[in-house]
């Protein structure tokens, strides 16, 4: 058959399916159960979004005794902060050691120089963001950049003249966020190369996470950092090569694990927080104080310094794990929230330890940025997270029953697992970090803050209005990401810069994957889903997995091939929507027809529940493939209610109203809403027009 014949046959079949299905249903029996998986492509021949294949088993995380990760890289650094007005820069030196993890020589190195995203308006970051991020606008005097002032091999060969900027993602020649350096002598497989580098990082005014605001400094993306050299087979690669993306507006992390040994020199009156454990401090011969930090098995190093921090500390001891020293660095005017920062950090730590896996580091530092530096709020770095009273409470101190601060801390701590330890490629598969983190919120927040929590509207530094809903329940709003307007714009999986604008990235990186995972939980059950996450973390921590690696874990743990689900939910623009079309009584046959329908084009197995007047229940199982399914069941006792999803609605289902059918329409609910609307009208009318 040619293509046209096949398409016509499919069209005819699709049109006839409801009729054939209905006619085939014998009265008085329950439908035959046909369980997925089965190829869903037959329903819809549109191609699926391409994704990287599963990682070659040889590239599963290596477990060397005493080491958590395969330490490919290490940095030994000395950096000095000059907070003087007009300077605001960090001068640094680093010795970088890199091991070639592949089985072929590597003839060049590639570096992230991400501070150059803030060099001018022409960088890819600024072009993509339009100069705005999280509501902040880069001021004209706020630019920053990084300049590599020297680069030489341990043998003394000067490599700086060879350094050139490249633009592997978009060819924007004005972008200087990635550089390559050809080597005279390639690095042999398994061999290491050592480079000595010096650099000057002029910090931008805080606009996108990093920089300065007054005397508050948040220093991220601040040093020349190697990209990831991916051998063939790693993350499904078909050939070896560097994975070193430009700095994009919506993503910033993918790097190798290693050891960071860093000395930071700051003025005496500054308090410092950083990735890793503080080994000690000493007066600097050039003035100020030098703090020595070290952390192994992380893929980045960030730090903060401020002369307005107050500090709180707590040691969290969890049975079966090493103690964690939790530090909160909070703006002095927010000192009353120190305990809340510590409590939320501890609760998050304990929850993840119990539900996902142990936190292997000895420290966790939680930072409250200065009010003008709230662009640095709500961020994650290894063992270092930022929250931000300025962001969560609009500058007021948070109310006792407003948990937004805690929610942000929980979210950023969740990143320690998915961004930090699992370390997926945020550029190429952003859902694997933000999406799983958002889903973690879905799981953890109800456990940690189950009581009613409110949200407030602040005005003039005072919380003037308590909104009539519970804050953690905001997660329920994530179902908006299942709507046609979102889903039809393209598959969930894409490169971070491949979505349409910041909204496209935001909705596909955060809520859409979160509801896809919640829907998977409905499909496989709570306990299985919990095991899927635990197994995924345990297998892939320090491992750089792909989406397919996650999918494989889910299928393996659940004991059934779930690829059909992931293909639809993550790799297609299919819309999920099932509903009860009608329940029709046939008096003569003494039966009732329960008609379920597939409104969308995604397929999901259905186990609908019928509840009768005497309280008895029966299940109607349907593979969900046809457009409609009629179940003919006994008329008595009377059918009172039909639930398409008796175990909870998958939030991926676009329309919840048709998920249930009731014998009578409840009147009190609509009456409450209508009378409240009438009353609101009266009050607003008196407020606006009462003067007459």
């Amino acid at each position: 058959m040619n293509t046209r014949t096949i398409l016509i046959a499919m069209l005819v079949a699709a049109c006839c399916a409801p009729i054939l299905t209905r006619g085939a249903q014998p009265p008085g029996t329950t439908a035959t159960v046909v369980r997925l998986p089965a190829p869903v492509e037959a329903l819809d021949p549109r191609p699926l979004a391409p994704i990287a294949a599963s990682s070659d088993p040889a590239f599963r995380p290596k477990r060397t005794p005493g080491e958590l990760s395969d330490r490919v890289v290490s940095y030994t650094m000395q950096a000095t902060l000059d907070p003087s007005p007009g300077v605001k820069s960090v001068t640094g030196k680093q010795r970088l050691t890199w091991r070639n993890p592949s089985d072929a020589p590597v003839g060049e190195l590639q570096f992230h120089l991400y501070l150059n995203a803030f060099r001018d308006r022409e960088s890819t970051f600024m072009r993509e963001s339009g100069g705005k991020l999280r509501g902040d606008i880069m001021p004209e005097d706020g630019w920053g950049n990084i300049e590599v002032t020297s680069m030489a091999t341990a043998a003394g060969e000067d490599l700086l003249p060879r350094l050139e900027f490249i633009q592997p993602d978009d060819g924007n020649v004005e972008d200087r966020t990635v550089a390559r350096v050809p080597l005279t002598t390639p690095v042999a497989p398994g061999q290491t190369i050592e480079l000595d580098m010096s650099f000057v990082s002029k910090l931008p005014k805080i606009f996108a996470r990093t920089g300065h605001a007054g005397n508050f400094f948040f220093v991220g993306q601040w040093y020349p950092k190697l990209g990831v050299y991916e051998p063939k087979g790693m993350r499904g690669r078909t050939d070896s090569g560097w994975n070193c993306h430009q700095f994009h507006a919506n993503s910033e992390f993918y790097a190798d694990f290693g050891v960071y040994d860093v000395e930071l020199t700051v003025p005496e009156n500054f308090t410092v927080g950083a990735t890793g454990a503080l080994l000690g401090g000493r007066p600097s011969p050039d003035g100020g104080v030098t703090y020595h930090y070290r952390q192994a098995d992380v893929h980045d190093f960030a730090w903060t310094a401020d002369d307005n921090f107050v500090t709180g500390e707590r040691t969290v001891s969890i049975e079966g794990a090493s103690d964690v020293k939790v530090t909160a660095l909070v703006q002095a005017e927010h000192a009353a929230t120190l305990e809340r920062h510590l409590d939320a950090s501890e609760k998050s730590l304990r929850w993840f330890h119990a539900n996902i896996g142990p936190y292997p580091y000895e420290t966790l530092t939680c930072v409250d940025p200065q009010e003008d530096g709230d662009g640095a709020g709500g961020m994650e770095y290894p063992t270092l997270i930022t929250a931000g009273i300025a962001t969560t409470s609009e500058g007021t101190l948070p109310e006792v029953d407003d948990p937004l601060l805690e929610i942000v801390i929980f979210h950023e701590f969740a990143h320690q697992y998915w961004y930090g330890m699992v370390a997926s490629n945020e550029f190429e598969e952003p859902w694997m970090d933000e999406g799983i983190t958002s889903y973690s919120e879905d799981l953890g927040l109800p456990d940690l803050w189950p009581a009613k929590r409110s949200a407030y509207v602040a005005y003039g530094g005072v919380n003037v209005l308590c909104l009539p809903f519970e804050n953690p329940a905001l997660a329920e709003f994530s179902r908006f990401a299942a709507q046609r307007s979102v889903v039809r714009r393209g598959p969930l999986i894409n490169q971070s810069w491949g979505y349409k604008g910041a909204y496209g990235y935001g909705v596909n990186a955060y809520p859409r994957p979160a509801i896809a995972l919640q829907s998977l939980r409905i499909l496989v059950g709570d306990e299985t889903m919990r095991r899927i996450l635990r197994t995924y973390f345990d297998r892939w921590k320090f491992g750089h997995p792909t989406s397919q690696d996650f999918f494989d874990v889910a299928s393996e743990v659940s004991g059934r091939d779930l690829q059909w689900y992931f293909d639809q939910a993550f790799r297609s623009d299919r819309l999920l929507d099932y509903g009860v079309q009608s329940v029709e009584t046939r008096e003569q046959q003494d039966t009732v027809d329960v008609i379920l329908e597939r409104v969308g084009d995604a397929v999901f197995p259905i186990d609908a529940r019928v509840t009768r007047a005497d309280g008895s229940m029966e299940t109607l199982s349907w593979d969900g493939r046809s457009a409609q399914r009629v179940f003919t069941i006994a008329r008595l006792p009377a059918v009172q209610r039909v639930d398409v999803y008796p175990n909870g609605s998958p939030r991926l289902d676009a329309f919840a109203t048709n998920d249930t059918w009731t014998e009578r329409t409840d009147r009190a609910g609509p009456a409450r809403l209508a009378t409240d609307c009438g009353l609101l009208f009266e009050h607003l009318t008196l407020l606006l027009l009462g003067a007459f």
């Binding site: 005005y459 003039g460 530094g461 005072v462 009539p468 809903f469 329940a473 329920e476 709003f477 179902r479 908006f480 709507q483 046609r484 307007s485 209610r641 639930d643 609605s649 329309f655 919840a656 109203t657 048709n658 998920d659 249930t660 059918w661 009731t662 014998e663 009578r664 329409t665 409840d666 009147r667 009190a668 609910g669 609509p670 009456a671 409450r672 809403l673 209508a674 009378t675 409240d676 609307c677 009438g678 009353l679 009208f681 009266e682 009050h683 607003l684 009318t685 008196l686 407020l687 606006l688 027009l689 009462g690 003067a691 007459f692």
Partner: protein, 286 residues
């Protein structure tokens, strides 16, 4: 001049039987318009959740599932806009009705303040007699509100956008609210002037009202602020009280409706008290 005396007499006049008739008329108009909106909303919502379990979820407030289904489905926007347009149209009807009724209200208040001043004119007849001048007074009030309120609102919004600080936020909001209250107070005096003198010129009424407010500025401001505070307090109490009613059953909805309407009635009465206190003050000053 003692502002407390003006306030006390104003409250007494607003509580007289004649004034309560006026209260009943204004409330009746507003309640009837609200009932139209309520019935329309009930019909639209009921149809949208017909035979769905979501209808029951509405008993506990606004479930997120319903909100998402209602506002994200194709065609939802047009329904929402239609209801909004209806509400705006009903509000305009209320504004017109309240202007039309204001002559009768003032006549009843003056009648109560000047007890024994002869036979009382039927309420609707008084409304009809002063409808024209009251409309013109209201139009001048609108001009003042748009010009003065508009300028202050622009300063207020611009200051907030420019991050002018918390002190600015509160002071500018306070100035804006008091300015609107002062304009309303002056307008009330103009309304009283029309009924008390029989002068149908709105311009003359406003001129008289502005002169009165300027001559008695301290007392006038005290009465304006008193009215503003009482109005805000009663509104807050009404909304808060209604919020405490559990409305998850049919009976609860009915109780909530009744309590809510008592609150609305209270707010309208407080508005009549404001008018009455200005009438009382003007009379004391005469």
């Amino acid at each position: 001049m003692n502002p407390l005396l003006a306030i006390a007499r104003g409250i007494r006049a607003a509580s007289s039987s004649g004034s309560l008739v006026a209260l009943g008329w204004i409330y009746g108009v507003l309640a009837a318009l609200a009932a139209i909106l309520t019935i329309v909303v009930y019909t639209v919502v009921s149809l949208g959740v017909a035979r769905s379990g979501v209808a029951g979820q509405l008993r506990s407030g606004l479930p997120t599932d319903w909100l998402i289904d209602t506002f994200t489905q194709p065609g939802a926007g047009s329904k929402f806009i239609a209801i909004l347009m209806l509400a705006v149209a009903l509000a305009v009807v209320y504004a017109a009705a309240s202007v039309a009724l204001s002559g009768g209200v003032v006549a009843r208040l003056l009648g109560s303040l000047e007890a024994g001043s002869g036979e009382r004119e039927p309420f609707l007849a008084a409304c009809g007699r002063f409808a024209g001048p009251m409309l013109r007074v209201a139009l001048i009030e609108v001009v003042f509100l748009v010009v003065v309120g508009g300028v202050l609102a622009i300063v207020w919004v611009a200051g907030l956008a420019g991050d002018a600080g918390n002190a600015f936020a509160w002071i500018s909001l306070g100035v804006l609210v008091i300015a609107i209250a002062v304009i309303t107070g002056v307008s009330d005096v103009a309304r009283v002037h029309v009924v008390a003198t029989g002068d149908r010129s709105a311009v003359a009424a406003w001129r008289d009202a502005l002169a009165h407010a300027a001559r008695r500025a301290p007392v006038f401001i005290v009465v304006v602020v008193f009215n503003l505070v009482v109005a805000a307090a009663v509104a807050w109490i009404a909304v808060t009280l209604h919020g405490t009613i559990q409305r998850e059953t049919g009976t609860g909805v009915l109780i909530g409706l009744a309590v809510g309407q008592v609150g609305v009635l209270g707010r309208i009465w407080v508005r009549i008290v404001a008018l009455s206190t200005q009438a009382s003050l003007r009379r004391l000053a005469a």
